[in-house]
Symmetry: C2
Subunit: 200 residues, 2 copies
DNA sequence: CCATTATTATGACGGTGGTCATAGAGGTGC
DNA sequence: GCACCTCTATGACCACCGTCATAATAATGG
């Protein structure tokens, strides 16, 4: 999670990051502002200073951060594909495998913050819902680009990107409920051929 | 939603049902016990009488109810398939279409209660997490059975059922965030051929 | 060194939520 | 009529949460 070199993060950044972490573990409702400050080792008084918009703003920034993070993951995994076997199924498998490892390493404590915000705020907090939608888009866009780079026609790329995100998100949900990664590995194996078949 | 004939439901049943409705709309944290009683037109005092286990018990029963409901949906949609075109893709499309209509009819207010419980309770309330896992299983089982009935080999059936539930769940999430059904229709169209190709 | 801004500290307030305690109705059987 | 069980009614308690008010403390820049 803290994989960006050794740079020191500002209290503000840490709070956004911590908010995302706590939200994806406990949900939005169960994540208190005081908890966020404590988790980020940040002063409580900084909350109202950096986030005058209150919890709504913090949640929005957290989910936006998560969307960018997911996008970075896609491009990084695309770049890390072996030169001799650059198929869409490999990219999907790499993404799934990363989530699988995270599940196992954290004992299934963490889900996806975007999903959490969607579930908890979709009908009550429009700003958060919008931020979640943008996060999904921010995630899907580089995925579609990666697919076209791997040989998938542009028209198909967007659709398959949606399919990949949907499937990953749902499988992650099931895995968390079951505390078992089989849903993740299953969808990875089942969807692979379909993705590769789209390469022209 | 209230499609079971004209039978009158007991206050207890109504409370479980209402809990599921409120949870899938607002999440577990934002759903109060008083709200549930009010939504069910049930006396507040009955809560502690029927659910001595408190909110935890109510949430558990709500998600169990949701799992059974999803399972009934599968068998009903399977039975409703036209006799001349009984392919797996048709079943999946029917399920997706049902969720799509629900999204549109309720202006994307409702998601899946099982997903909501998973997101909000997976790491804190083990009983709820277990109930969610059972709900997913309860949902997946008739799906797998339906697939084998449609000609999919048993071994594949279980995997494809997991894939279908994952994809549906994730697409529903995206649709809700974007207030747009395109994710649902996209995954339905993209996954169809894969499902039909599994028929032997 | 001062003025101004950025940041942090802390306590209070109003509201809400789950839960408990206690008592009141409503029915049934004997 | 009485005992008994099921169900309902209601208020209180305590903890927590998001927010605000206010002040203190750095940091900065002239």
């Amino acid at each position: 999670m803290t994989e960006h070199g050794t740079r020191v993060y500002s209290p503000r950044e840490r709070m956004v990051f911590s908010a995302a972490q706590l939200i994806r573990r406990d949900g939005v409702g169960a994540t208190g502002m005081r908890d966020v400050a404590a988790h980020a080792d940040a002063p409580r008084g900084s909350l109202q200073h950096y986030f005058p918009g209150g919890k709504e703003q913090l949640v929005g920034e957290a989910v936006t951060w998560a969307g960018n993070y997911a996008a970075r993951r896609v491009t990084r995994n695309l770049a890390a594909l072996p030169a001799d076997d650059r198929r869409p199924s490999r990219l999907f498998a790499a993404l799934i495998s990363q989530w699988t490892e995270e599940c196992l390493a954290t004992d299934f404590a963490f889900g996806c913050p975007v999903a959490a915000v969607t579930v908890d705020c979709a009908d009550t907090t429009d700003s958060a819902r919008t931020a979640a939608a943008q996060a999904f888009d921010c995630w899907r866009r580089p995925l579609a680009a990666a697919l076209t780079e791997l040989g998938v026609p542009q028209a198909r790329g967007a659709s398959l990107a949606t399919l990949m995100v949907s499937t990953l998100e749902g499988a992650l949900l099931i895995a968390r409920a079951e505390r078992d990664t089989h849903a993740l590995t299953t969808v990875s194996a089942e969807l692979g051929p379909l993705l590769d078949a789209a390469v022209m």
